[in-house]
């Protein structure tokens, strides 16, 4: 078959019309879906915000209760808020930087690669921008209590050891999970998009 035969076969398809009298149903479905997505994103951001503010509130309360001796806790508060604000700022940036679905293919692919690279970078460096301030804040809060428990009694070395080991495992788990997502989930997707981008710009 030559090219002309192929175009002739292609043209034999009628110009299918997708119009339907139930357009109202379609519109409602799309609107509902858009609203659901927007709601989900909104509550996700609110959750981050509330969690950060809650931890900060607990620390502030403790700092006030301790008076002058509680000053190190204020550093913890600042560190926790720094992470929370960083989170929200990143979400707002990602939302504003979205590429329109009608962008040219190359521009859309480039934008998606760039966004995924940024996400991957943030996940790979989660130890520095997210965990380090939290660990530091947590450690300051711990030290400011003089390593005393909630009831005021000094923790035994075993209790302290278990406490630190538990926290270590938790932080390591968070770090590991982020590395895994960046390398195993986002990495292959970037590679796929790069391959597509290369096929677009290559003349071979």
């Amino acid at each position: 078959m030559n090219w002309n035969d192929l175009t002739a076969a292609w043209r034999s398809q009628p110009g299918e019309s997708l119009v339907d009298s139930r357009l109202e149903v379609l519109r409602n479905t799309f609107e509902r879906r858009s609203r659901k997505l927007a709601r989900r994103l909104f509550w996700r951001d609110i959750r981050e915000l509330v969690a950060g503010l809650f931890v900060a509130y607990v620390l502030v309360k403790e700092a006030i209760r301790k008076g002058v001796a509680g000053w190190p806790l204020w550093i913890s508060v600042l560190l926790v808020l720094w992470v929370t604000v960083g989170f929200i700022r990143e979400r707002v940036r990602a939302h504003r930087g979205r590429t329109e679905p009608s962008a040219p293919l190359l521009a859309k692919i480039e934008a998606d690669i760039s966004e995924l690279r940024r996400q991957s970078d943030l996940l790979l460096k989660v130890g520095t921008w997210y965990m380090a301030p939290l660990i530091l804040g947590w450690f300051i809060a711990l030290a400011s209590t003089g390593f005393h428990g909630l009831n005021g009694s000094l923790r035994t070395p075993l209790q302290m050891g278990s406490y630190l080991a538990g926290a270590g495992v938790l932080f390591f788990g968070i770090w590991k999970l982020n590395q895994w997502v960046a390398l195993k989930k986002i990495g292959p997707r970037i590679a796929e998009l790069e391959e597509l981008r290369n096929s677009l710009v290559s003349n071979k």
């Binding site: 019309s17 119009v19 149903v25 859309k108 597509l196 677009l200 003349n203």
Partner: protein, 176 residues
């Protein structure tokens, strides 16, 4: 066209006049009936959402190609990983886009089926190019959709066309 077109009216117009683009792209990217429906829904949704930013300066068909090909390429890549789709239930299934088979002639239908099969087996970019070429978009329009220069489009089109003809070699003879 007014700067702020009535969303519903414009969508209806697009579906009436250019619904075939959605069907053709979906058939060229989806390998199963479920995927076909899924992709069509996704493209229609993206088109619906793109209307507020459609100024009317671009040709509707070029706009639809851009939105739908972007959707298809991203959908294709995420097909195994995409999050669980929000269940649309029976609502959209009512909007069946697969009307009775277009070609009356059985041989023509068979050729079309082989043609879609060949297109699906092509690399993503070649696939998008041959789709637009078969629908007779101009170099300028294809360049606008892809973001490439017209020269680049010309070179890539020649390559993609050769590849498709090669894939379809012998199909006519088979059917005789």
């Amino acid at each position: 066209m007014s700067p702020k077109p009535d969303r519903e009216l414009l969508f209806k117009e697009w579906m009436e006049a250019h619904g075939g683009i959605i069907v053709k792209i979906a058939r060229s990217f989806a390998r199963s009936t479920a995927d076909l429906e899924d992709l069509k829904q996704e493209m229609m949704l993206q088109l619906w959402m793109s209307i507020p930013v459609f100024s009317g300066e671009a040709k509707a068909s070029t706009w639809i190609y851009k939105v739908c090909l972007n959707t298809a390429l991203m959908w294709h890549r995420g097909v195994g990983r995409r999050e669980h789709r929000i269940e649309l239930g029976a609502d959209l299934s009512q909007f069946s886009t697969d009307r009775a088979s277009p070609a009356d002639d059985a041989a023509q239908r068979e050729i079309l089926s082989k043609l879609y099969e060949a297109i699906r087996s092509m690399p993503d970019f070649d696939r998008t190019l041959v789709l637009m070429m078969l629908d007779e978009l101009t170099y300028r329009e294809i360049a606008e959709v892809t973001g490439l220069t017209e020269n680049h489009v010309g070179v890539a089109l020649t390559r993609a066309r050769k590849r498709l003809v090669e894939l379809m070699k012998g199909v006519g003879n088979e059917l005789e």
